[in-house]
């Protein structure tokens, strides 16, 4: 389990491998199965998630600790976080489109999808539930999002190969993807106990 007395490196590793957000914690699965047919699209989605998650969980951490707690408004956590994330994604989208068209070409279509990606909201909640400091929270979000990127790229690489293989008719498409995910999850389970995490 992650707690605020772990050092930053262990928090990062825990989020990246031991408690991988997709394969061990089951958060963000819609996009995991939805956009992983091709490696390029997985890479785009993974990069967009990394970009937005690091930023949004920092912003929500600041809002929670400097706005909601002083005014005893913790019950507005869910509503305020989702609205802040949606607004932030819009702002980032406009900003990139204006100042960095190449990056926009690469991430553009994935950014709106990121808003409803539960991993983004979960990262914001988890950092607060574990009482992490600002820096720890930042590293934790980075670990989660790189773990997402790692898992979705590995998965789409496997799916590209599976698409060419002969498999039983009933297992074509989604069921075989779940079987693949199951084996990958088994592999990630092997990280349990790494550095005592």
């Amino acid at each position: 389990m992650i707690s605020n007395d772990l050092n930053i490196f262990l928090i990062f590793l825990s989020a990246l491998l031991v408690n991988n957000i997709l394969l061990i914690r089951f958060i963000g699965l819609c996009s995991f199965f939805g956009i992983s047919q091709r490696i390029e699209s997985s890479l785009g989605m993974g990069a967009a998630v990394t970009f937005v998650m690091v930023m949004s969980s920092s912003v929500t951490w600041l809002i929670y600790n400097f706005l909601l707690i002083p005014f005893h408004l913790q019950y507005l956590r869910t509503i305020s976080f989702i609205l802040v994330i949606a607004t932030l994604v819009q702002l980032v989208e406009r900003f990139i489109r204006k100042y960095n068209p190449t990056l926009y070409q690469a991430l553009g279509i994935y950014l709106p999808l990121v808003t409803t990606n539960c991993a983004i909201l979960a990262a914001a909640f988890l950092g607060i539930d574990y009482h992490l400091s600002f820096l720890q929270n930042l590293i934790y979000a980075l670990g989660i999002s790189l773990g997402y990127l790692l898992a979705i790229i590995l998965f789409s690489g496997l799916r590209e190969r599976i698409a060419l293989s002969p498999i039983p008719k009933a297992f074509k498409g989604v069921p075989i993807a779940f079987l693949t995910a199951s084996l990958m999850s088994l592999a990630f389970l092997g990280f349990k106990g790494l550095f005592g995490l």
Binding site: L23, I24, R25, F26, I27, G28, L29, C30, F33, G34, Y75, L76, R77, T78, I79, I82, L83, A86, T116, N117, C118, L121, A122, F125, L126, D129, P168, A170, F171, K172, V174, P175, I176, A177, F178, L179, A181, S182, L183, S185, L186, F188, L189
Partner: protein, 196 residues
């Protein structure tokens, strides 16, 4: 009334949100390690879906078309917050088990999907039937997966020992890989049955 029944039944089988539409997978896989938690998750989910569908459908004539998504999200987030506090108040243990998955109902694709695809276009009565059907479809599948996983992984259902003495539990079933595995076989089975 007949139309209401049709709308209700389609959520159970033909348009089952999990098996057919593959939406809202996160809680289904994560919370299905024990039957009791799974049932509670199903109820909490249906509660949010029911009230958000009714409210969104009642407000559909007053909701401007281009800001409808933020309106949906605020309505859903309100009921998610209510559920979160109700569960925390009545059963802190359950609240710990379900953890982050209660607040995450807010970004569950099924709830927002039903708001956009159904409640925004139909009257409150049909939206109510739709919510009950979809909620029941969700609960049945999550409980079914939990029964299989708990039975194989711990030999129990609702915490009661079912398997004969000396049964060696397949621990993998209550670990994350088991969830993906059961899901793979359920969807394959459903493919097989539907295509006949």
């Amino acid at each position: 009334m007949k139309k209401g029944v049709d709308v209700f039944v389609k959520g159970l089988f033909r348009e089952n949100p999990i098996l057919v539409l593959l939406l809202g997978l996160c809680p289904v896989l994560a919370v299905s390690t024990s039957t009791r938690d799974a049932l509670c998750m199903g109820v909490a989910f249906s509660f949010v879906l029911l009230f958000s569908n009714i409210i969104i459908s009642s407000l559909r004539r007053f909701t401007p078309h281009h800001i409808r998504i933020p309106v949906f999200i605020v309505v859903i987030a309100t009921f998610v917050t209510i559920t979160d506090y109700l569960v925390a108040g009545y059963s802190p243990q359950l609240h710990r088990n379900l953890g982050v998955f209660i607040p995450l109902i807010v970004v569950n694709c099924i709830v927002l999907g039903r708001a956009e695809a159904f409640a925004y276009k139909n009257n409150p009565f049909l939206s109510l039937a739709d919510a009950i059907g979809m909620g029941a479809g969700f609960t049945i599948i999550i409980v079914l997966i939990a029964i299989i996983r708990e039975l194989l992984g711990a030999g129990t259902i609702f915490g009661k020992m079912i398997m004969p003495e000396g049964y060696q539990p397949v621990i993998m079933m209550i670990l994350p890989p088991g969830a993906f595995l059961i899901m793979a076989f359920l969807i394959a089975l459903q493919n097989k049955l539907v295509k006949k």
